[in-house]
Structure formats: C-alpha cells, structure tokens
C-alpha cells in the first residue's frame, strides 16, 4: 500500500535501503537486551531504519551525490555492519541466536499471535493517517514546489510519508525478511499502476495484491515445511506484476499490441474508403460504378481491404467494377469531417 508512494516518487531503491538499514538495529537491540521477543527487536529495526533514511536525505541535500549513490552507500554500509554484528552474535557461546536469521529471509511460521495483532494495529493507524492526509500526500507527490507556495509545510508531509514507509517495512521484516522486503513493497504497487489511472484505486489495488501475495505465499510455505516465507511471497507478488504488465487493458503489452494492429487495419480500410470517396464525389451519381483497376493507383489498396469493405456493406462489386453504397458514402463523408474536427 505505502509502496505506491515509493513507486510514484521514483525512489524504488529507498525500500531496499531502509530494510537493509534496519538489520543492525535488530542485532543491536538483541545485544543490548538479550531479548528475543519481536517487539523489542523491531523497535531496534525501526530506529536504525529511520536513522538510515534521514541520513540518506541529509547526504542528498548536503552533497552533490546523486540519490542512487547515497542510497547505495547507506544500504551497503548498514547491511555490512548488520551482518558483522550477526556473525559476532553467532560466535557468542551463550547466545541463543537461532531467532535472528529469520529476519534475513523471513519466516512467517514463527509469527506469534501478538505479532499479528501488532501488525494489524499499526496497519490500521497507517490507514487512518493515510486517509486523513490524503490530499496533502497527493499534491506533494505530484508537485512539491507548488505545494510549498500554497503554504503547506512540505517537510512535515515528507517526514510523515517517509516514516510510514519505514514503519511498513519494519513490520514486514519478520514475514518477508530484509533481503526481499523492497520487492514486497514495490511489486504490488507496480502491478497496481498497470490497472488504473487513479491514485486512490492504485493504492487500494496495491494493498489487495500485497495482502493476497502475503496470505497465499504464507500458505504455500507453511505446507512445504522448509521453504522460507519471504521468497515465496515475493514470487507470488511477481506473478501479479508479470500478469499485469502483459494483460492490463490500458497499459498492458498484449492489449497495446492488439490495439495497434486493429488500429492499423482500420486505418487501411478508412484510407481506401476515403480514396474511393474522392473518386465518387466527382460524379453526380454515387452508385456509378468504377473500374477496380483505378484502385491500384492507391498504394494502400489490397484485395483484402476491398473484401472487408464489401462485407461491411460499404461497397458493392459487379465483375471488375465497384461502386459505393449509400452507407459507404455516408461513412466516408463522416470520416472526412471527423478528421478535420480532430485537427482543432
């Protein structure tokens, strides 16, 4: 759901950076408290995720590094540090580290009921805030400078959006894992974008795709004992994306191709009809027959188009002569005026 905003911001890498940045937080939280319960660990993830994000912001603002570079830098820095800590923890004799690596690839099976409740509550809060500030989010994403001139404090809106993306990611860590989290964030949104041109529907669809991938993926991984949940969920989500790219009615590749071919065929037909109309127009009687040979002067003409015109009842053939029907004449005349209309 919140992934929609990341996609529209063209900050797709951000999700990746945040989730990787969360890793050292988990490790540090474990080292400090020795706790294994997920709330403490996720709190650590939240803190280090936010830290990473605002660092990235700072780097982009203060230096002239491109945002990709800044993201990459923070991502590898935090992730490297996180892995280091994890290895360190594993070497500790007393540590019961078995729980930590589930954050790498995710293991929904280890979710407790309290975790699920926690997720539901936070999601609810996110949803509420999203609805509340819908107008502000929308205008900021579309035109940040203009939003400023209207008197909105764009920094606050910005921090709000970013915090929610971070929050969503951190919550998902336990199920999907650090490595694949960004895919989980972006895939549903990318798929949803294919189906709609409205922001609200896009966000709704993204949430739906996301939820479905989650449930379906978890179900599959639960039935096959040793599968990590994260990869399965992401694969399900990717299927959505693939499907959407090919089959979406307005933006999908398949329909684009079909529409293109159909348009081209229609155009051939119309051009031929227009050509005939020009010839016929110079005669008083519309249905005066003309030789088919004349049509050879027109380069777009084929036997196929002529047959089509006949089957549409625009043209009648008599031996090697043709004439326009009343219907065909009218259609052709309309075609003409339509074209001049469109030029306006």
């Amino acid at each position: 759901m919140l992934g929609s905003f990341a996609v529209l911001r063209k900050q797709s890498l951000l999700g990746d950076a945040i989730s990787h940045a969360a890793l050292p937080g988990i490790a540090i939280a474990f080292l400090l408290t020795g706790a294994k319960d997920s709330n403490t660990l996720l709190l650590g993830a939240l803190v280090s995720g936010l830290l990473g994000t605002f660092w990235i912001r700072g780097i982009i603002k203060k230096t002239h590094l491109k945002s990709d570079t800044a993201l990459g830098l923070i991502l590898s820095l935090f992730f490297g540090f996180g892995m280091l800590l994890l290895t360190f923890i594993q070497k500790q004799p007393n540590a019961n580290q078995a729980g930590l690596d589930k954050y790498l690839f995710g293991q929904a099976a280890t979710l407790l009921e309290s975790d699920v409740w926690m997720m539901a509550i936070v999601t609810g809060i996110c949803l509420f805030v999203l609805l509340l500030f819908w107008k502000e989010f929308k205008i900021l994403l579309f035109d940040a400078d203009y939003t400023k001139t209207l008197g909105f404090n764009t920094k606050i809106i910005d921090i709000l959006i970013t915090s929610f993306i971070v929050l969503a990611i951190v919550l998902g860590l336990q199920t999907v894992g650090v490595v694949l989290m960004s895919a989980m964030l972006l895939a549903p949104a990318a798929a949803a974008r294919q189906w709609t041109n409205s922001l609200s529907i896009m966000v709704f669809l993204a949430a739906l795709f996301g939820a479905f991938s989650g449930v379906f993926g978890t179900a599959i991984s639960a039935s096959q004992n040793n599968l990590s949940t994260g990869p399965v969920i992401v694969i399900v989500a990717s299927v959505f994306v693939l499907f959407s790219f090919v089959f979406s009615p307005s933006r999908g590749l398949l329909f684009k191709q079909i529409r293109f071919i159909k348009n081209r065929r229609d155009l051939q037909l119309h051009k031929t009809l227009a050509f005939m109309y020009n010839i016929v127009e110079s005669h008083e009687n519309i249905s005066h027959p003309h030789a088919i040979k004349i049509l050879n002067n027109f380069q777009g003409y084929t036997k196929g188009t002529l047959q089509k015109l006949v089957s549409k009842n625009y043209v009648v053939l008599q031996g090697n002569m043709w004439s326009l029907t009343e219907d065909g004449f009218k259609t052709a005349a309309n075609l003409y005026s339509q074209q001049t209309d469109n030029n306006e």
Binding site: L8, K10, H64, L132, F133, W134, K135, E136, K138, I139, L141, F142, D143, D145, Y146, T147, K148, T149, L150, G151, F152, R193, T196, N197, S198, L199, M202
Partner: protein, 245 residues
Amino acid sequence: MKNKIAVKVDDLTVAYNYKPVLWDIDLEIPEGVLMAIVGPNGAGKSTLIKSILGILKPIAGSVTIYDKPYEKQRQLVAYVPQKGSVDWDFPTTALDVVKMGTYGSLGWIKRPGQKEKKAALEALEKVGMLPFKNRQISQLSGGQQQRIFLARALVQNAAIYFMDEPFQGVDATTEIAIINILKELRKAGKTVIVVHHDLQTVPEYFDWVTFLNVKKIATGPVKDIFNDDNLTKTYGINYKVSIQE
C-alpha cells in the same frame, strides 16, 4: 507612475553552489502590470521566481508583498511552474490537478467539496479545457498540460500571478488564448509576472518588462526601456528588435 507596489525585492542574492546565480537584485513591481521577465537561458529567471515564492532559500535579501513579508501573504500569490517540473505520468486527471489550486485555502486535512469542484470546472472552462476534464494528465498534449497549470493558478483567485514560461511549446491559437486571459487578469487589477522568451511579442503582450542576466539590467514600462541598448546589455550580442507600434 502606477499606484501601489505589489512585489518588492531587496538585495536578493541566490546561489546553488558557490557562484551566485542572482546577484543583488532590487526590484519593484507596481500593482496591475503585466510584466515580462526576459533574459538568456541560465540567466536566473526561474530562480528569481522560485526565490520570491520561498521555494528556494536566498543567501541574502528579502521579499515583501504589499509591504508585508511574503510568508504572511501567501494566499495572495499564485504560481504556474515550468511544465517540465512535474511527472505527467502521475495517476490523476485534469480536473484533479486543477482542484489542487484550492488546497491552499482549504488548509490541512479538509477535502475539496462541491464548491471547490465548481471553481475548478469554471477555471477549466476559461482555458478551454472543459472537454478534457476527466482525461488522464499523461494523455494531454504539451499545450493542454500548460493550460491545466494555468487553470490551477486561476482557481487560487490570487492578486499576483507568477508564471514560468507559460507559452513554452504552445501553438499560436493557444498562445493568443492564454495572453487574453492574462490581459483579463490585468484588467481585473491583478499583477501578472511572466517569464517570456519570445522578444518579438514583448511589446504586443506586456506593458512592463524586467531584463535579467544574473544581475538586474533594467526594469520599467515597455515603451520606455524595451530598446536595443538594454537587449544588448542582457543578451551580450547586438540585438535588433523591430518594435511594432
């Protein structure tokens, strides 16, 4: 001389890196003028507008609108950004974009309602875009997108309008339609400031002009200061414009 001063800029200096792109600009724009800002590419025209509107933070200087700091007068000012500054693939419709012009007066959280919709539709009508109101913005032509931006500013019902190249990539008919709207605004007592590139049309469209190239070269009534001397100073080459009376 005209009456009140609508916009006053004092000692404005702006830099992106180390080198200032605007240097010590002093500018007074009288109320009710239709003013062109002219200057070569990179002269700092967009930067000037963005600094006046508080989008960019200047190194030094101040901006007042009707004798009060800009921050207190925001609702008097409307902005038409350069068209290339936003992502037109954003999932929204023409009407929705125009409605954004009402967000400022709505403030936080409150949603646009019937009244705002009506205002937006009227603005669309004014710029001749009513038939396209439900069109996805990515499916509009460049000139149509420009008109949507204009409509969005009109909805704000401001006293002062800043427009960054509203004629960029529009055809002759649209250009005339837009300039007529601007002249109407002036007739209603509004102040309109336009970044403009076509020097030939300056005398025909505008009554006030500012020459800018990092520094302010000149500002004043078109009939007094729009001459070869100032053009040469601004553009650096010998410029000859035949002024049609």
